[in-house]
C-alpha cells in the first residue's frame, strides 16, 4: 500500500464537512489536534459556542501575534481568545457541563472506533507508554453527540474502523458519527452506514479500507 499519497478529502475538507453539520446555536467541545481545525470552517450566519474543559465557554480564535496571554489557553494548552459573552469557571463546573449532558457535540480524534461505537483514543497500551487520559472519558460519557474526525487508516495502513477495539477503551458505544478522509459514516443500530464518500472513492475501495461490513 502506498502510504505517502493522500486519498480522498484533505484535512481541511474533512473539517469543512464536519463544520457544515453543526447546527446553529450548538455548544461544542473540540478535541486537541484535527478537531480544532473545524472552528475555522463554520459557515457565516451559524453561531457556535465553543467550550474548552479547562474553564472557558465562548472560546474565540487564536490571538493575533503578540496578544497571547499565558493565562488564556485551551485544553490543548494553546493560546486562545474569549468572545464577547464568554465566561470563565472552575473545573467542577466545567465538567458539570460535560457530564451533565449540557454540551451538544464533542468532536474527538481516534485511534480506533468499532462498529458498535466503542472509542479508543487515549492509549496504545504499549509498555513504556505514559498513560494520559485528560477529559476524553468524561466527554464521551456525557456529551449528547460524539463525533470522531480521523484519517480512515493509520499511517502504516492499519484499520482504524474495526470490529473490536484492541486498544484500551475511552468509552463503549459512544460514537455517533465518524468523519474520515474517505467518507462520513454514521454508527447505527444496524452497523456502520456510509452517508457520503469523498470524490473518486468507490464503495468497494472504502470497504477494503474498513474492517467491519459497511452499509451503503
Amino acid at each position: 500500500m502506498n502510504t505517502t499519497e493522500r486519498v480522498g478529502w484533505s484535512r481541511i475538507e474533512m473539517a469543512q464537512k464536519a463544520a457544515l453539520d453543526i447546527p446553529d446555536g450548538s455548544y461544542v467541545n473540540l478535541g486537541i489536534g484535527m478537531p480544532e481545525l473545524i472552528a475555522d470552517h463554520v459557515p457565516p450566519g451559524i453561531e457556535v459556542i465553543y467550550h474548552t474543559e479547562n474553564g472557558l465557554l465562548g472560546m474565540g480564535p487564536v490571538p493575533e501575534p503578540g496578544q497571547e496571554d499565558v493565562e488564556l489557553i485551551n485544553a490543548g494548552k494553546k493560546y486562545v481568545t474569549a468572545i464577547k459573552g464568554a465566561c470563565f469557571f472552575h473545573h467542577a463546573d466545567s465538567f458539570t457541563m460535560i457530564r451533565g449532558g449540557h454540551l451538544d457535540i464533542s468532536i474527538l480524534g481516534a485511534l480506533q472506533v468499532c462498529e458498535k461505537g466503542d472509542l479508543a483514543n487515549w492509549s496504545t497500551g504499549k509498555p513504556g507508554a505514559i498513560p494520559a487520559v485528560g477529559g476524553a472519558m468524561d466527554l464521551v460519557a456525557g456529551v449528547k453527540n460524539v463525533w470522531v474526525i480521523t484519517d480512515h487508516n493509520t499511517k502504516d495502513g492499519q484499520f482504524k474502523l474495526v470490529n473490536n477495539c484492541s486498544f484500551p477503551l475511552t468509552g463503549k458505544g459512544v460514537v455517533d458519527r465518524v468523519y474520515t478522509n474517505l467518507a462520513i459514516i454514521e454508527i447505527t443500530e444496524e452497523g456502520l452506514k456510509v452517508r457520503e464518500m469523498a470524490p473518486g472513492i468507490t464503495f468497494e475501495y472504502l470497504q477494503e479500507k474498513t474492517e467491519p461490513k459497511l452499509i451503503q
Binding site: I49, H51, G58, G85, C87, F88, F89, T96, M97, G101
Partner: protein, 237 residues
C-alpha cells in the same frame, strides 16, 4: 445568532405540561420568580412536582400555585414560614404530598442532577427519621446515607442581569438555589431584571453560564412577595 430572549413571560412558560417536575428558585421571597409563577398559574398545568426550598407565603407566588391545586407534590426543606397557610392546610388534609429533604441535601441533589451524578453519600440526616428506609454505608468508620440526584423538566428562576446567551448574574442572597437549578432542568426559564449586551457581564463574574439557560424574559420591575402579602394580594385576584 443565539438569542434566548423571548417575547413575554406567558410565552416563556407556555409548554410546562401536566405532570412536569418544576424547580423554582428562591429562599423565602429572595429570588422567587413571582411573575413566572403567576404565568404558570394562568397556564393552569396540573399535577406538578415542585422542587423549592419553601412553600410560599400569603396567597401569591408558590403559595398561590399550591392553592390553585396545581401541585401534587412538594420537594422542599422548610414548608413552614410566617404567613404560610396554604400548604399546611392542604398537607393536614392529605391533599398534597411532601418529600422533606435537609436543605444541604436538597442543594446537593439538585447540583448532582445537573452534573450527571446519579447518587452520592452524605452524612446529613444519618440517625434521624429522614434517613429511614434509605441505604446507608460506612466510609472510614462514619455512616453516610445514599441520596439521589434530582432533575427537572423546567426550572424557573429570577436573576439580576442576563445577556442574549443566557449568561446570568444574581443579586445578593437572591442567588440561593437558582444557579444549581439552572443546571438541573431540561428547560431553564429565567426572568431578568436587566437585559444587557453580550460582553457587558465581565466573563470573570458570570454566575450562571449561558449553556444552562434556555429562555430569558425581561421583568424590569418584579413584584416582592412580602409587599404583596402585606397588602393582602391574592393571585389570581
Amino acid at each position: 445568532m443565539i438569542n434566548k430572549l423571548v417575547g413575554s413571560d406567558a410565552e416563556a412558560v407556555s409548554d410546562i405540561f401536566d405532570g412536569a417536575t418544576v424547580m423554582i428558585g428562591g429562599f423565602g421571597e429572595a429570588g422567587s420568580p413571582i411573575e413566572l409563577i403567576h404565568r404558570l398559574i394562568d397556564l393552569g398545568s396540573k399535577n406538578l412536582t415542585v422542587v423549592s426550598n419553601n412553600t410560599g407565603s400569603g396567597n401569591v407566588g408558590i403559595a398561590a400555585l399550591i392553592a390553585n391545586r396545581q401541585v401534587r407534590k412538594m420537594i422542599c426543606s422548610f414548608p413552614r414560614s410566617t404567613n404560610s397557610v396554604v400548604f399546611p392546610e392542604l398537607y393536614r388534609a392529605g391533599e398534597i404530598e411532601l418529600e422533606l429533604v435537609p436543605q444541604g441535601t436538597l442543594a446537593e441533589r439538585i447540583r448532582a442532577g445537573g452534573a450527571g451524578i446519579p447518587a452520592f453519600y452524605t452524612p446529613s440526616s444519618v440517625n434521624t427519621p429522614l434517613a429511614e428506609g434509605k441505604e446507608q454505608r460506612e466510609f472510614n468508620g462514619q455512616t453516610y446515607v445514599l441520596e439521589y440526584g434530582i432533575k427537572a423538566d423546567f426550572s424557573l428562576v429570577k436573576c439580576q442581569s442576563a445577556d442574549r446567551y443566557g449568561n446570568l448574574t444574581y443579586n445578593k442572597t437572591a442567588r440561593n438555589f437558582s444557579p444549581i437549578m439552572c443546571t438541573a432542568a431540561d428547560i431553564t426559564i429565567v426572568q431578568a431584571k436587566y437585559m444587557v449586551e453580550a460582553g457587558e457581564i465581565d466573563p470573570e463574574t458570570v454566575v450562571t453560564p449561558g449553556i444552562f439557560v434556555n429562555r430569558v424574559v425581561e421583568i424590569t420591575d418584579p413584584a416582592h412577595e412580602s409587599i404583596l402579602v402585606a397588602s393582602g394580594e391574592r393571585y389570581p385576584r
